[in-house]
């Protein structure tokens, strides 16, 4: 470690953080750990996404505290703004199947994973504990050394466009490649000609098809919620009236076949057949 020569730098200036930062850290750090634990344990993927957004905001405040203002703001804009919203959009597409299956394909994998995680965490923490990380050089000197009058943003910009300019150009190529890849992956080639109106109409009146519009939810029922199936003339609920997503998710209200007030049901149920 001493060959690297940074220990001498580390003891040069401010060795401890301010009390305000310590207070903020001891509030933010447990919250970040709890939220990320909740993220990997949450049953619904949407809850995981929201908890991850919370962790990212938490880390953004950590960056702001650690004299990285540009990075803190970029964290909020790019991570919580763009990446997490992308996650939520994909969750909307994948929607119905977003809950996790609890079947283990490899036996004992869960316990092995927990053990491996604990061991790995212990290894990391002990390794950091062994390293000599007492002291802090602070970024005041580094920021003042550039042409930016001690501003962190201008110092980052100077490094980005001088020392790391090739890496910066490579990332632009990477981003363009990623955008192209997403378009190629999302593109679907049309394998059959577009169905004309005539074909659609014939399909509709094919035997076994349902030519009229489907019954809307809640017709003749006690509630008009979207998950309440309509009642057929004989009083039985029909699932045709409820959106298929709700049926798949099992969110259809149980209506039961309540008797109609005038006792019409017993007479009419013999002559009408349920459409479903």
């Amino acid at each position: 470690m001493s060959q690297l020569g940074w220990q001498a730098v580390a003891v040069a200036s401010e060795a401890k953080t301010s009390t305000g930062e310590a207070v903020a850290f001891w509030i933010l750090a447990p919250l970040a750990v709890l939220a990320s634990l909740g993220m990997i344990m949450a049953k619904k993927a949407v809850h995981s996404a929201l908890l991850l957004a919370f962790v990212m905001l938490d880390l953004a405040i950590c960056y702001l505290m650690q004299s990285a203002p540009f990075f803190g703001v970029v964290q909020i804009v790019v991570y919580t703004g763009a990446i997490m919203m992308l996650f939520l959009f994909v969750l909307m597409i994948v929607g119905v199947d977003s809950s996790d299956s609890l079947i283990e394909t490899i036996r004992g994998q869960r316990w092995a994973a927990v053990l491996a995680g604990l061991g790995f965490g212990l290894l990391l923490v002990l390794g950091i504990g062994r390293a000599a990380l007492s002291g802090m050089a602070g970024l005041g000197g580094a920021n003042a050394s550039g042409r930016g009058n001690g501003s962190n943003v201008q110092q980052v910009a100077e490094l980005l466009f001088t020392k790391y300019v090739f890496a910066f150009e490579a990332t632009s190529a990477l981003l363009i490649t990623a955008a192209l890849a997403a378009m190629v992956l999302a593109h679907r080639e049309r394998t059959e000609p577009r169905a004309s109106q005539r074909v659609l109409a014939e399909e509709r009146f094919r035997p076994g098809a349902y030519p009229t519009p489907l019954p809307p939810p809640g017709v003749f029922a006690r509630h008009n919620a979207v998950g309440t199936p309509a009642l057929l003339p004989d009083g039985t609920p029909t699932e045709l009236s409820v959106p298929t997503e709700l049926v798949e998710r099992g969110d259809v209200e149980a209506v039961g076949t309540a008797p109609l007030p005038s006792g019409r049901r017993s007479e009419e149920s013999t002559e009408t057949e349920p459409v479903a």
Binding site: A12, K16, E21, A22, F25, W26, A29, A32, V33, M39, I40, S48, A49, L52, V55, L59, C62, Y63, Q66, S67, A68, F71, Q75, V78, Y79, I83, F87, V90, I93, V94, D97, D100, S101, T105, R110, A113, V114, A116, F120, G121, L124, V125, I128, L133, M136, A137, G138, L139, A142, N152, Q155, L159, L160, A167, T171, L174, A178, A181, A182, L185
Partner: protein, 99 residues
Amino acid sequence: MNPANYVYLSALLFTIGAAGVLLRRNAIVVFMSIELMLNATNLAFVAFARIHGTVDGQVAAFFVMVVAAAEVVVGLSIIVMIFRTRRSASVDDANLLKY
């Protein structure tokens, strides 16, 4: 407070992310765990930049963020494509190459 505490926090978050990748079966949650690990390394980069007194660590974290953005775009479109063909986002269902 010792600034090394940020590094400890980063190690904890990285461990939780790795455990999430091992534990979860939903491809999207696995992906979120990977994002958590990338964020943890960013925190370590920023903390080390401050401890060593150079801005280079922040620039490295910036590049990590760019790569993470590209990775999310491609990964999520792959997940959507697999969901379209197999109607499932579980990592256990994409096992055609196994047999």
